[in-house]
């Protein structure tokens, strides 16, 4: 009798074990062949080396990049909203705000991204609602030709020096830093960053005095390379490329403050691969990836445990002093007004 009871109990226990195993397997969805990530095309070879290939090695899922600038990729996501082909997307906060308004992003589950605990507080949920996470911090400095411009450039106000008319460029309003530069112009020339009448007046001068404006940092780099301009605001992710030009260019952190910006990443609404999209985001925030991207001068880390050598740190947005000096403008305010500002900007170009 005792033997029969023991056998029955054993069978029941084995059954429970099998069922539990099935449940565990069901918690992890099956792996897709690929994960489509909408991203910028800058430094794509390094993104493959530091992110795509290690991710594939770790998880057995190929990463396919869908590249373009913010505007083109947002347009594609909106068009394919009902049947998205992209799983994860990177945007600037302003465009991420627009993406949320268009309904193409969905909230991630914080418990699925444990590496959130290791990044700066302001990077964890910059637009609220757990829609996006900042995976890198950037800033906009100024580059100028030291052999052509005297006295040296030290301030945002130097863009309005009369002798530099025709030798400067400026980003278009519909770029990552366009709206932020309106607020910075308002801040340095007016009472505050919301003194927009002053800011617009100053931008009108800039448009008049710049031979052309730029939409992509690569265009600004080309203008410097061809010596069409001697002075340009330049985002930090392009600093490496600027310095590789081999021209006598100096980088300036203006005395009024350095414009801070983030690049954020989120999960596309409607993707069937939510689990793996969140896994990708977590992977992006890992010490391994953040360190590799920093060492290759691709992106500055938000992971606070990344410890960089001095020569690398000097070329990135890194270090307590610089991070604390960054001026972040409210991305929601920028996102709410971008359309109106782009229309106004176009009128100034007439």
């Amino acid at each position: 009798m005792k033997k029969i009871i023991s056998v029955v109990l054993l069978i029941i226990m084995l059954g429970i074990l099998v069922l539990a195993q099935g449940e565990t397997n069901a918690a992890v969805p099956s792996k897709p062949d690929k994960l489509v990530v909408s991203w910028w095309g800058f430094n794509l070879d390094l993104l493959d080396k530091n992110i795509a290939e290690p991710f594939e090695q770790k998880y057995g899922i190929k990463v396919e990049w869908d590249v373009g600038d913010n505007v083109a990729r947002l347009a594609r996501l909106v068009v394919r909203k009902d049947k998205p082909v992209v799983d994860v997307v990177g945007f600037t906060p302003t465009f991420a705000y627009r993406a949320i308004q268009e309904g193409v992003l969905q909230p991630y589950r914080p418990e699925r991204i444990p590496n959130l605990a290791y990044i700066y507080d302001w990077a964890q949920d910059p637009l609220s609602g757990h829609y996006v996470v900042a995976y890198t911090v950037q800033c906009m400095g100024i580059y100028y030709r030291t052999d052509k411009i005297e006295p040296p450039v030290t301030s945002w106000k130097d863009f309005w020096r009369p002798e530099l008319s025709g030798y400067l460029t400026w980003p278009e309003m519909n770029t990552t830093y366009g709206p932020a530069l309106l607020l910075m112009s308002s801040k340095v020339w007016g009472e505050s960053d919301r003194d927009l009448d002053v800011g617009w007046q100053k931008l009108s001068d800039i448009i008049e005095r710049a031979p052309t404006l730029y939409r992509r940092s690569s265009e600004a780099i080309m203008l410097l390379q061809q010596e069409e301009v001697w002075l340009a605001p330049m985002p930090s992710f392009a600093w490496g490329s600027v310095e590789a030009l081999g021209l006598p260019l100096a980088r300036v952190f203006p005395e009024e403050g350095v414009i801070g910006e983030m690049s954020v990443v989120g999960v596309v609404n409607g993707t069937p691969n939510i689990y793996w999209a969140e896994e990708f985001i977590n992977f992006l925030l890992s010490h391994e990836v953040q360190m590799a991207e920093a060492l290759d001068l691709v992106d500055s880390p938000v992971n606070t445990f990344v410890d960089l050598p001095a020569d690398i740190a000097a070329k990135l947005v890194y270090g307590e002093e610089l991070i604390d000096s960054l001026v972040f403008f409210d991305p929601t305010y920028l996102g709410e007004n971008i359309d109106e500002w782009v229309e106004k900007w176009d009128k100034l170009k007439l």
């Binding site: 505007v71 947002l74 448009i207 052309t212 061809q226 069409e228 229309e343 176009d346 007439l350």
Partner: protein, 269 residues
Amino acid sequence: MKKKAWFWTFPALCFLTIFFIAPLFFIFIESFQAEKTWGFDNYINVFSQPVFTTALLRTLKISTIVTFLAALLAYPAASAIVKSKRRNLLMSLIILPLMTNAVARTYAWLVIMGRHGLINSVLLSLGDTRNPVQILYTEPAVIIGLLQLFLPFMVLSLVSALENMPADVEEAAYSLGANKLQTFWRVVFPLSREGLVFGGTLVFTGSTTAYVTPAMLGGTKLLMLSTLLQQKSLVLLQWSSATVIAVIMVIMVIFINQVFKGRRLEETS
């Protein structure tokens, strides 16, 4: 015979219908739809924007200038080609740029017209200017780029027209005491007008709808209809305005074609 003609053209007609006419039709319909209501609101909105009227006028101006300059340059070139013994070689040289990617050709202009490019180097060495002249990102830069892009079409069209001209009409005019200018204006030009009209149609419509050249050589400050369309559709995601601009561009092209076609019919009747 007629049935055979339909049979052979049917696949091409299907392709054109599905991939050209149908999308145009949908864009046309959508241009009258504003937030699920039908009407002319989108058109009123677009036409009331100063940026649109500026882009429209600039496009018409630049297209007209390019067409005029193309005719001016193409006539002597076409005349020389027709009379030359190396006609085939010269024709090949004219056609060669057409085989090069338009983006690559436009990039070359960035180097030539830059502050330290070929043109400025020549001007500085001649002492015509003390400092480099701003050529890039101006209307002349766009005109030069478009002219280079579409000049071959005008040359080809005029070569065809001049070849069909009786061989001895110029000689006859000279023998009657006309000089070269009179011969051209009163004999050659009237007889080749059909070729000029055809070439003019190609050059004007091409200049109106070109995107890469105005975008690269004009920069972002000089908006033309094509670059404005790109901005409205891919930057601002203002699809309703973008459809209106697209429709207006198509109507412009059709209108120009009809005007020139009318002139061609007049010439041949």
